[in-house]
Subunit: 379 residues, 2 copies
């Protein structure tokens, strides 16, 4: 599936993702950040580039990308926004859109999103709707963005009713993932992305799950080789799923394992919990739910709890959590059909229980019981 | 190309439009408005329908559509917004989106846009970005929406820098055009749409252009048969172009005839001029530009002026217009590549001059001269 290319002096892995409107590669390799101009020229030739970063990543990488473009004879301008999930709003999307228009970016322009998941989603949505869509190049610099967010073409912003409820599918022309960027993150930030890697293993690949557990320490330290291996395997797994089902009508739903409860836990915390932390808790609870319903192998939830602990993840809050809030948010989950939340349940580590569809409704009282038990602090 | 169907008792014409993600029909027939539920069931089955209309069309047709859905056992809710182009904003888009979310519309919902061009664009953009896209059914009730806006999948809103600068391509599941709705419009509103019909004739079909001129009086009176014939022919012509080039990379550009100057004239008037009126003036001036450059047959501009007059269109303002404003807006035209506006030029009535591409840059001084001459009131 992946292809090893030799572009210039360094090895680059290219994982193809096919969409309804064509195909794009996810390029993975150490040192690729310094070679953005050649990838822009090859995959997204444009008259002008709008490089979008948050105000922290701008000084780490965004400015360097703009400078490198300048040296390579490409016309690039930097646009920044305040760091954090609080910027993933329609308001910030409007501000950036107007800034690009004011700067004279037009149809022959392209967006280069340099940063974490928030930047990819926000800048991707700007590109998706700018003059009804201009090309976007995704340059993820966080673990979660490399491992998860940059593959699949989802873009969007949060609204009062929930996260990611407004957005568009807008596949990038190319994704450039340089695992050496992970070194500038805190371990806690790495963990947020590794939660999604663990999810990929849990739903699709038991041996990848084991590999991640074995490499936990190196991954948490930001070791480039270990990170490269994880990014490559996660991207391959996710690309396979997304290629098969771009619009989440079928198998793509498996990627929501841990997310139905995870989103609700995240929302009920007022987004004080990181997405990866919430998803890790969601995986533990949804595995417990599957065991209770007799579809998930006994002991799965316990194993998840143990292994996620190596990443500082999956432990339910000691003082319990907002039980009523979680149940309230479950009612507005984006994946709901006809108002009832749906769950992806494991058969065992590495495989989803797929009889009767990739996701299913479960009896409301079972969900309530699992949430209530988790919400009660253990003795 | 078109197919005559017999659905129920009345004749329905179906014109197929092919897009990168499938095909949808434009259904044209007198009396179709009373049969919306059967078309929703066939082309856009959904758990719930959000019917979106402006506050005027709501009482004319929107409420009736919701009632008919109710009688047919479909769950439909009406959402309204203040009438007029001033509602085509990101703010109104946000308000509608939040109202749909609050009402519990989810992924298994669909939007039904009942109204004119503003409704189609605004409700279409709501659907395009709602949970990253839910189906939309377009039910155009104005001449311009039937003849032009409902075919092609363009959705969007206006921003400070110009009209339609933010949006998405989001093809409808079906378009239902009932020419008898035209009777509730003023003649002036009909003319706005007939300007686009005249454009279709001017760029693609000389005999259609002549037919429209011959039927001018009946069309301005809102005669259903004459309107049906025009809607059908315009939809066929536009569908052919859009099927060939969904994203305006090639031949679809011909639909911009009259629009480069038209948009600038419209913007410079502070949108006091209707879109059709501005486009009619744009066609006259762009034909004059083509004649000046030697690519358009002599006399074309004069013929356009004469024939458009039957619709009360194409006459330049007697007191001149904002010359500097038009040139300023030309600089920010959405179709510009590299900051220079591009023009579609006729060879003669019924054919675009296509050597060197469907659109072209022209010397800035020629554009300035044409605009300056038009801006000066004649003696």
């Amino acid at each position: 599936m992946k292809r090893r290319l030799r572009l210039g002096q360094d090895a680059v892995w290219a994982v193809p993702v096919r969409t309804s409107v064509g195909s794009y590669p996810v390029l993975v390799g150490a040192g690729l950040l310094s070679r953005i101009p050649e990838f822009l020229r090859e995959y997204a030739p444009a008259h002008r580039y709008a490089v979008i970063s948050d105000d922290r990543v701008a000084s780490l990488y965004g400015e360097a990308v703009v400078d490198a473009c300048g040296s390579a004879g490409l016309d690039a301008t930097l646009f920044t926004f305040p760091r954090g999930e609080a910027s993933k709003t329609r308001k910030q999307w409007s501000i950036l859109t107007d800034e690009l228009l004011d700067a004279g970016i037009r149809r022959d322009g392209a967006v280069v999103a340099v940063g974490g998941g928030v930047t990819g989603d926000l800048a991707g949505f700007v590109a998706a709707t700018f003059l009804r869509g201009i090309p976007v190049v995704q340059v993820p610099t966080s673990t979660v963005a490399m491992i998860d967010a940059s593959v699949g073409g989802k873009t969007g912003v949060d609204v009062g009713a929930g996260k990611n409820l407004v957005g568009a599918y807008h596949p990038p022309r190319v994704v450039v993932a340089d695992p050496s960027a992970i070194q500038t993150l805190e371990a806690e930030e790495r963990a947020q992305g590794l939660a999604e890697a663990m999810k990929h293993g849990a739903i699709l690949d038991a041996s990848y799950f084991t590999d991640l557990c074995d490499a936990a320490e190196r991954l948490m330290d930001g070791d480039t080789d270990a990170t490269l291996a994880a990014v490559l395997r996660s991207v391959e797994l996710k690309a396979r799923v997304v290629t098969e089902d771009e619009r989440e009508a079928g198998v793509r739903q498996v990627l929501n394992f841990g997310h139905t409860l995870g989103h609700a836990i995240e929302a009920a915390s007022g987004y004080a919990l990181g997405h990866g932390s919430a998803v890790a808790m969601g995986m533990v609870l949804e595995a417990r739910l599957g065991e209770r319903l007799g579809v998930t192998e006994a002991g799965t939830s316990e194993r998840l709890t143990e292994e996620l602990a190596s990443f500082g993840l999956g432990t339910l809050p000691e003082n319990g959590f907002d039980h009523a809030g979680v149940l309230k948010y479950l009612g507005v989950d984006k994946k709901a059909r006809g108002g009832r939340p749906r769950f992806v349940l494991l058969r065992s580590i590495g495989a989803v229980h797929e009889e009767g569809g990739w996701s299913r409704e479960v009896p409301a009282e079972e969900v309530e019981r699992i949430v209530a038990e988790a919400a009660t602090p253990s003795e």
